[in-house]
């Protein structure tokens, strides 16, 4: 339940050992947290004979590894997602126009490899097209057998649908990684856009899938799979053709909210329980993406946070989502897009080793999901696939601010609401702070370029209009 203990002890020691008492309380304050952890540290450091269960947990285990049945290779349960790399501005590189902070990427990759992480997932369009290069730069400083490269064939725009253009994307990946083989290659986002017709145009009609199958024969592609978003018909078709293609793995969105409710929160994505069930039935290894729903499962409303902290006061909210995804046996690796070093440290702690969720804990998360689904948040994971908007709008910025206020109960129903003045100011001032005025929802023309790119199938123009209308009402006090 508490494999992060050692890290907490380290934290406590750095801040000076404090407090000898105060064990086993359920307070939530930071000071309290330090006290409890500090007590553990003292207990461990001074009283060696104390055979408290704490001491056992304090010993850091090693990363949980899963076996890919195809070659029997061991893959770390934590996979490093290279979509939200840090920028020099300190934010995620997707958020602005700052370049990627390569030094920090190197540092994080070094730390990850040193702690057993060996799966690195990137794609040509990520981070304004710079992710693959940054990933390669960091990985090339390590021996090739220390890591698995996962990248994708991301021929999303029609101009890249020709065979030549598609193969160029693939070859460019090989060139960037200075290698003759990609360990895990994915057809990127099948089911997105127009669903079946787009899938056929991207991979079948131009012979790209056949080419990739040949490449697998030749050993240039070690594992061939696909990542799925959107139209369930495409997913079903690809699995029905499993005998023909022998998918080595499939990447799906899986978390405790999507398990049951994916169909409810997006237009026609199917629930993760169905996807996982179909893959499990066929024995196909599962790579999990969006275990945190773009942060929506780590940045939760207060009542949800209270539920989780009550069950495990010393565990982070995010660790629940990671343990959830890791608890499924068919899962090969769980991808996390980490833009901060602290994310990486914490996730490594969570999976070193994984403590699978008990039935009681599973039941708790189900309850959490039931409650969370009542919040009418817009299911944006800030993946930035919609960006850049041709009119300069910060689409995820506008939506995330709305979701944040929704989670904090700051979305108002009428001017008669009790907290009207404060909530109004919080929304409007916070909006101007997080999104420059020229990039706000009021500038959406409804051109619709973003719509087919959204893996969550959000009707972005409609949502931006809804946000804009709400802001306008707030400004005019006419709610």
């Amino acid at each position: 339940m508490n494999e992060r203990e050692s890290g907490q002890n380290r934290l406590a020691q750095e801040s000076g050992n404090q407090g000898g008492k105060g064990r086993r309380k359920t307070g939530l304050s930071r000071r309290h947290f330090l006290q409890v952890a500090g007590a553990g540290a003292i207990g461990a450091g001074l009283a060696g004979c104390d055979t408290d269960e704490r001491k056992v947990k304090e010993v850091r285990g090693s990363m949980t590894m899963r076996v890919n049945p195809k070659r029997g290779e061991k893959v770390s349960l934590l996979g490093f997602g290279m979509m939200r790399l840090p920028s020099v501005g300190g934010r995620s590189a997707r958020e602005g126009n700052e370049p990627i902070d390569q030094d920090m990427v190197n540092k994080m990759v070094d730390y990850a490899i040193a702690h057993g992480v060996n799966y690195f997932d990137t794609a040509p369009p990520y981070c304004k097209g710079k992710s693959e290069e940054a990933t390669a730069r960091a990985l090339l400083r390590h021996p090739r057998d220390k890591y698995f490269i996962a990248t994708k064939l991301s021929n999303f725009v029609p101009s890249t649908w020709s065979r030549e253009a598609s193969l160029q994307i693939y070859r460019n990946s090989l060139r960037l990684f200075v290698t003759d083989h990609i360990d895990y290659l994915l057809l990127h986002g099948v089911g997105m856009g127009n669903g079946m017709p787009d899938y056929e145009k991207r991979f079948l009609d131009n012979g790209v899938l056949d080419f990739l199958l040949e490449e697998r024969e030749r050993g240039h592609v070690r594992n061939l799979g696909f990542s799925y978003h959107g139209d369930i018909a495409v997913f079903d078709r690809l699995l029905a053709e499993h005998d023909k293609y022998h998918w080595d793995f499939v990447q799906i969105q899986l978390n405790y909210l999507d398990w049951k409710y994916a169909g409810r929160i997006k237009a026609f994505n199917s629930s993760a329980s169905y996807l996982y069930g179909e893959l499990d039935k066929r024995g196909i290894p599962v790579v999990v993406m969006e275990p945190l729903l773009g942060g929506r499962l780590s940045n939760v409303p207060n009542n949800i946070a209270a539920m989780l902290k009550q069950a495990a006061p010393e565990d982070s909210i995010a660790s629940w989502a990671f343990r959830y995804a890791g608890s499924f046996p068919r899962v090969l690796t769980v991808l996390s897009g980490m833009s901060r070093f602290e994310h990486l440290e914490e996730n490594i702690r969570t999976y070193s080793p994984l403590q699978p969720l008990s039935d009681r804990e599973m039941a708790l998360l189900e309850k959490v999901a039931d409650r969370m689904i009542r919040y009418d948040t817009i299911p944006c994971n800030a993946c930035d696939y919609c960006m850049p908007c041709p009119y300069g709008i910060d689409i995820p910025g506008c939506i995330l601010h709305y979701n944040k206020c929704l989670n904090e109960d700051l979305i108002l129903k009428s001017v008669r609401d009790k907290n009207y003045r404060e909530a109004r100011r919080a929304y409007l001032v916070g909006y101007d702070r997080s999104v420059p005025r020229l990039r706000q929802a009021s500038h959406c023309t409804g051109c619709g370029q973003c719509v087919p790119h959204c893996p969550q199938r959000i009707d972005i123009p409609a949502q931006l209009r809804r946000i804009d209308a709400y802001v306008e009402k707030l400004k005019q006090d006419r709610l």
Binding site: R94, P124, R439, T445, Q449, R465
Partner: protein, 504 residues
């Protein structure tokens, strides 16, 4: 004692007036607005008889106390003079009056007002001069400070400070403000209240009355030992010790002389017959008062740093083969308007031009950066509207609330919603429906009076991209359509002002 009272009131007035001009949130205005309304020129323009009569009466009783208690430019000069005298004991000396110059400037001022050349009158109004300096030179600094605090507050999860745009709204205004600062500041540092007694038309007007003031500083020749302390401390240079006379038309009743006299020969009291009429010093010919011109150090401060948008002109259209990042946004430019737009409440261009003294108080409080100084010759320094940074929001009526001169009358939100200050005009060649072939309804969606309907570009094809159809008679001219139009740098829909505002 009297001087202390005078000083206290003066400090209060200066602080309140400065706060009035620096407060871009419009929150102190309801409490401090009256300080602007009791200024002489605004009161005259607004036909505020109570204030004008009150000031005239006060001057007849107490002399030009107005200049030393209420006038912000006068107080500003006092501050400069005091700072200039912190080091080195430079002293003042008696100087003959520049009567001809004073009367000429006053005549010019009155003529300008009567003929409706408001911009010339605006240049001479001391209150407006102060307002321009505060607005153009000081407010940006306060706004930058506010933005810094906002950043800090953001980290503390506080919403106490909201970020604002800091921008250079008019270069001519900046130049005028710097020149005012340079000229008035230089004169104040060297010659005390010379500006008030040689140029300022308000000083001259009040001087005509204060010659007959009931109370004034009086010199008791029997007690005077000719130590000349009073002369050295007289900012107005109006104590003629040779002839034992004090020029009451130039005395600003600062009471320095009374305060400093070691023998009590000077007192503030009722004039007996001995000092009945002030000296019209005719001796020396009028010296050119405006000799100390120029040398204004025009180092331009880079206000705009905070708000500067990347002005790189890049076409819209972006490469969707990659994810993330922002498209460059080309800044909007203000279109050339056949008729300028003046703020709601101005009633008409004529009324506005005749009453506005260009004090920039409305510009200071405009929350959406719509108001800025005009650059036209006849309306120079008087504000006009532009929608490249924001538009005239339906819920805002601040400019009318603050205007002390009656150039912008206060209106209610309801009145504003039915007031036409301009009309939207559509330009086919710029509209994205034509240039990019996809519909866009930003203008129609944001029109607060629903004056815009989207119609098919080609009436034969209902599926063709939609363009706006403006019902001019319903349009208020608020500029929402212009500001939010995606066409850049020039909007495909823009507002043309109307000469006389109309009710719709």
């Amino acid at each position: 004692m009297l001087k202390k009272i005078r000083l206290t009131l003066a400090v209060l007035a200066l602080l309140c007036l400065t706060a009035l001009f620096l407060d871009f949130t419009g929150s102190v205005q309801p409490y401090l607005g009256f300080w602007a309304r009791i200024q002489l020129v605004p009161a005259l323009l607004a036909a505020n008889f109570v204030a004008v009569l009150g000031l005239a009466l006060a001057t007849l009783v107490l002399g030009r106390g107005y200049c030393s208690i209420l006038c912000p430019l006068g107080l500003f000069q006092d501050v400069v003079a005091r700072l200039a005298r912190l080091r080195g004991k430079r002293s003042y000396s008696f100087a003959p009056a520049h009567t001809a110059l004073r009367l000429c400037v006053l005549a010019l001022f009155v003529l300008a007002l009567v003929l409706g050349a408001g911009s010339l009158a605006a240049l001479l109004d001391p209150y407006a001069s102060f307002g321009r300096m505060a607005n153009a030179l000081l407010q940006p600094l306060v706004q930058l400070l506010n933005n810094g605090l906002s950043l800090l507050a953001d980290r503390l999860d506080s919403y106490a400070f909201a970020p604002v745009d800091v921008w250079l709204n008019s270069v001519p205004l900046l130049v005028i403000a710097l020149l005012t600062l340079g000229i008035v500041g230089f004169l104040a540092a060297r010659h005390g209240r010379l500006y008030c007694n040689a140029i300022c038309p308000v000083g001259t007007m009040l001087g005509l009355l204060s010659r007959f003031a009931f109370f004034r500083p009086l010199l008791d020749e029997t007690k005077c030992v000719n130590c000349r302390r009073c002369v050295r401390f007289c900012k107005s240079g109006c104590i003629d010790l040779e002839h034992k006379r004090i020029d009451a038309s130039r005395c600003v009743v600062c009471l320095n002389c009374v305060d400093t006299c070691p023998t009590g020969a000077l007192a503030f009291g009722h004039a007996g017959k001995e000092a009945r009429v002030a000296v019209q010093a005719k001796t020396a010919g009028t010296r050119a008062a405006s000799k100390g011109r120029g040398s204004a150090s025009c180092t331009r401060r880079d206000f705009v740093k905070g708000s500067a948008l990347a002005a790189v002109a890049a076409p819209l259209g972006t490469d969707k083969a990659i994810d993330g990042g922002f498209a460059k946004i080309v800044p909007k430019t203000n279109p050339v308007r056949a008729t300028a737009i003046v703020p709601p409440g101005a009633q008409s261009h004529a009324n506005f031009a005749a009453h506005c003294t260009g004090c920039q108080l409305c510009v200071s409080v405009c929350p959406t950066a719509v108001l800025r100084s005009a650059t036209g010759l006849l309306t120079f320094l008087q504000p006009e509207m532009g929608y490249e940074r924001g538009y005239c929001r339906p819920e805002c009526t601040r400019c009318g609330e603050v205007c002390p001169t009656g150039a912008i009358h206060p209106i209610t939100r309801a009145q504003k919603s039915a007031l036409q200050i301009g009309r939207a005009v559509w330009k086919r060649d710029l509209c994205v429906a034509v240039t990019s072939g996809h519909s866009c309804d930003n203008c129609a969606r944001h029109c607060p009076v629903e004056a815009i309907t989207m119609v098919a570009l080609d009436p034969q094809k209902p599926d063709s991209p939609k363009i706006p159809a403006v019902n001019e008679s319903r349009c208020t001219g608020c500029g929402a359509c212009e500001n939010l139009c995606p066409a850049r740098p020039l909007s495909a829909i823009h507002v043309e002002g109307v000469l006389v505002h109309a009710e719709i």
